[in-house]
Symmetry: D2
Subunit: 265 residues, 4 copies
C-alpha cells in the first residue's frame, strides 16, 4: 500500500501532533501565529531574534491600500457575497510577477548573484560593491530587470526599507542577501542612467532569505501577509462598500468600439 509521509501534522482520537509537538499542550497559547508559520515552512523553530525580524517582514507586506489585488477581491465579494473564501482567493491570485512576486524574485536574484561569489562575513563594503557591480552589469548585458529596485509611489525612498535593514542588523540576522542588495543600491546609479530606491518588498525578500527560509517559498509569505490585508479590505467592503461604485464608474465610462467583423462564409 502506498504511504504518504508528512512531517507537518496528524491526529489521533485524543491528540493533535504538529511538527513534533502536541498542539494543545505545547503550542496553544505558547507560540504566536507568526512563529508557527515560520516553523511550518522552515521545519525548524525560529529564535526570538529571527521571529522579531520575520513578524516585521510580514507586517511590512500586509497591505498597500487599493492595489489591483484588493480591487479584485472587493469586486468578487460584490459578485458573490456569500463566499468569503472566493473573494480572498481572487485577491491572492494576483500574487504574481508584477505586484506580489517582487519579494521572491529579489531573493532569487540575490541568491544567484551570491552563488559562487565566495562572500564571507569579513567582506568589506568595497568587496560587496565589487560584487554588486558584477551582478548589475551582468543583468544589463542580459537585458534583465533588477528586482527590488524602484517603486511606482515611493520614488526617492521606500520607508520600509531602512527599518527592515535596521531590524535585521539589531537582531543579528543581517546577512549576505541584504548586504548585496544594499550594495546594489549604492552602485547602480553609476551603471544605470538613474537612481532608484530599494523597495520594501525587495528588502523583505532579502531579509527572509537571510533568515535561511527557502527562496521558492518566499512568495508564500507575501501571500500569507496579503491574506491578512485582504481580510481588512473585505471587512471594510462588507460595511462600506466601494466595489459597486468602481463597477458603475467603469461601466459608465466604457466606450464600445466593436465593429462588425463578420468574415464567415
Amino acid at each position: 500500500m502506498t504511504e504518504f509521509p508528512t512531517q507537518i501534522g496528524t491526529s489521533t482520537e485524543d491528540s493533535i501532533q504538529l511538527l513534533g509537538n502536541d498542539l494543545a499542550q505545547d503550542l496553544l497559547g505558547k507560540i504566536s501565529f507568526g512563529e508557527l508559520a515560520f516553523w511550518l515552512v522552515a521545519r525548524r523553530r525560529p529564535t526570538e531574534a529571527e521571529l522579531r525580524v520575520f513578524e516585521a517582514v510580514l507586517v511590512a507586506l500586509t497591505d498597500h491600500g487599493f492595489t489591483p489585488t484588493a480591487i479584485a477581491a472587493r469586486m468578487t465579494l460584490y459578485s458573490a457575497p456569500e463566499s468569503l473564501q472566493g473573494a480572498i482567493a481572487a485577491g491572492l491570485l494576483g500574487a504574481g510577477s508584477r505586484f506580489l512576486g517582487v519579494t521572491e524574485d529579489t531573493a532569487t536574484f540575490l541568491a544567484e548573484g551570491l552563488d559562487g561569489a565566495g562572500a564571507t562575513a569579513s567582506w568589506s563594503q568595497a568587496d560587496w560593491d565589487e560584487l554588486a557591480v558584477r551582478v548589475v552589469t551582468k543583468s544589463l548585458t542580459e537585458h534583465r530587470r533588477i528586482p527590488g529596485l524602484g517603486h511606482p509611489v515611493h520614488k526617492i525612498a521606500d520607508p520600509r526599507t531602512e527599518v527592515l535593514i535596521g531590524l535585521s542588523r539589531d537582531n543579528g540576522t543581517h546577512g549576505p542577501h541584504l548586504a548585496l542588495l544594499q550594495a546594489i543600491g549604492r552602485v547602480h546609479p553609476g551603471l544605470l542612467d538613474r537612481t532608484l530606491p530599494i523597495n520594501g518588498a525587495g528588502a523583505a525578500g532579502a531579509a527572509l532569505a537571510d533568515l535561511g527560509l527557502p527562496t521558492r517559498m518566499l512568495r508564500g509569505f507575501a501571500i500569507l501577509a496579503r491574506t491578512a490585508g485582504l481580510l481588512g479590505h473585505l471587512a471594510e467592503e462588507q460595511e462600506t462598500p466601494v466595489a459597486p461604485a468602481i463597477y458603475r464608474l467603469v461601466d459608465r465610462n466604457a466606450v464600445y468600439t466593436g465593429v462588425d467583423t463578420d468574415t464567415g462564409e
Copy 2:
C-alpha cells in the same frame, strides 16, 4: 468625481499610513503579524490579553494534516508548480461549509441563540443550561444541525477545546458565546440520542466572537490560519511530493463505468 473612502491604508511618496499609524515608524518591529490581522478586521487594536487568545485561536486552526484542502492544494502545485498562489488559492477554496466553515457557523448559531435571550454576566450555570435546552430543542424542531458539536476523529474530546476555553478564561475574554457553547455541550446528550464533543473549530469560533470580532468575518480568520498551514504543506510538497502518488493511486484504481448513452437523433 467618485471618491473611494478607506480606513485601511494609503501611501504617499515618503510614507505608508496603515490604520492611522505610520507603518514604518510605528508598526514594523513593534506589533506581531497576528496583532495586525486583528486590528485590520476589528478596526481597533487588541489588548494584550485579547491578542493572546486571538493568536492561540489562529494556531489552533492552522493545520489538521492531510485534509481535503491540503490535498487539493498539493494536487494543484503538482499541475502548476510555477504558480504557488494558485495552489494556495485552490486550497483555500475548500474553506466552505464542510471543513473550514464550522468556526463561523458556530459563532453565527450562538449569536442567534443569544439574540434576545437577555444573558448577563451574572447568569448561573443553570441559566445557561436552560437557554441551551431552548436553543438545542429549537434546532431539533427545525431539523438543523448544531454546529460546533462532533468531530470525525476526536470522537470523545477535541484536545483544543478545553485549552481554548481555559485561555479565554485566564485572559478575561470568556463571554456569552463560549458560555452558551459549553452549556450546549452539557445539555445535548439528554436531548439528542448521543454525546458529542465540542470541536475545536466551534470553540475557536465562540472564542473569537467573545473577542467582539464580527461574525461574518470569522471564516476569514480560519482562512488566514489555514493559509499558513497550506504554506507548510506546499513547502513539504516541493521537497517530498505526495501528489504524484495520490494521482497514480486514484487513476489506477479508477473503474470506468461509462456506457454508450447515445440517445441523439
Copy 3:
C-alpha cells in the same frame, strides 16, 4: 482496495474512452463542444433540437461587458500576467449569488413552485397564472426575492428573454419551468408594486431546466459560458489594457479616513 468509479472517461495506451465512446474515432470532428458539455453533465446525448436551445443559452450567458467579474479578471491579469488560469479563476469566483447565480436560482425557485402542483401539458394559461399567483404570494409572505425578475440595465425588457422563449418553443423544448416563469411575468405586476422584466439569466435557467438538466448544475453552465466571455476580455486586456487605468483611477481617488484607533494597553 478502494475503487473509484466514473462514467466520464478513461485512457488506455492506445485509446481514450469518453462517455462510452471512443474519443478520437467517434467524437472528434463529429460533435460540437457545446454538445459534449451537455452530454458530460446530463450523462445523455442531446437531440438536435435540445442542442440548438442549449447552445443558444450558452451564447446568451457568455458576456455582458464590464461586469464585476470581468473587472476582477482583468485586475488579476494585470497583477500576474504570467498566469492566465489565475485571471480566469478570479473572474469565475464572482459567479455567486448576485451576478451569475440568477440562472440556477431561478430554476430552483421554479422547480420548488412546480413541486406538487400537478402541472400538465394541457394546462391553460389561466391554470399557469393561478399557480404563479400562489408562488409569488408565498414569496411575498416569506419576504423572499423572486429570482429571474428585474435587471439593472434592461428596465423594460431584457432582449434575450423573448428570443430564448421562442427558440424553446420552436424546438419543442418549452416546458413547465418556462411556462411558470412567463406566468410570473404576467401576474406579478398585480401583486408587487411594480412591473419588472423577466431577465435573460432567469429565462436561461428555465430553458435549461426544461431540457431536463439537473438544477444544482445550472450555475455550472453559466460558469462555462462566462469562461468564454472572460477569454475575450483577457485577450483584449493583453492587447489594449484597461486595468492599469482602473487601478490608477481608484488609487488616486482613494480618500484615507484612517484614524488612530489605538486602544491597546
Copy 4:
C-alpha cells in the same frame, strides 16, 4: 474623464451588443457556443472549415479522466459543496505548465522555430525535416524540453493526434505549425535517444496556431475545454462522490514523520 474602450460588448436599455452584432437578434440560435468563443478571442468570425477544426480541438482537450485537476476540483466540492464556482476555479488553477500548459507551450515553441525560417506553402517534406533538425538540435544544446512530444499513458501514439491532423488537412487549415510538429515527430528519434509520440495537447496547440489564434491565449482554450470536463466531474461527484474515499485513503495511509525540531531559545 478616463474612458475604458472595449470591442467585446455593451448594453443599452433595450439591446445587447456583442462584437458588433445584436446579441438577441443576430447571434442567439444562429451561432454555436464554440463559434462565439473563437470570435471573442480572435476578434473575427471563423469560417465554417475553421470552426470544425476549432470545435474538434476543444472536444479533444475536454477531459482525461481522473487528472490532478479533476481530483482537486472534486476535493474542493467535498469541502465546500455550496460553491460550485470555487470547485471549478480550484480545478482550473492546475492549468499550468505540467498538465494543461502543453497546448500553449507547443505552439510557442513551434512559433519560435518558424520565426525567421522562411517557410512557405511550397516547402517539401525534406525542407520541413531540415528545419525540424535545426529546432530539435537547438533545444538539445539549450537543455530545453521539446513540448508536444511524449505522453505518460499513450507511449506509442496519442489517438487524438492523427485525427486532429487529418481534420486540419481536410478543412484546409493545416499550416506551418502542424507541418513543423509532424517533422519533429519524424526526425527526433535520430537525435534523441528514444522515439516519442506527438501528444494530443501538442497537436491541438499546433492546430489552433494554424487557425491564426494568438499564441498567448491558447492556454485559454485548454482552460475553456477543461471547464466543461470539470462540469462533468462535478456533476458526477454530486451524485456518486469519490472525494471522501480519496480523502480517507490518504489520511489513513499518512505516516507522520514529525520530530521535535525545536531549536528556539
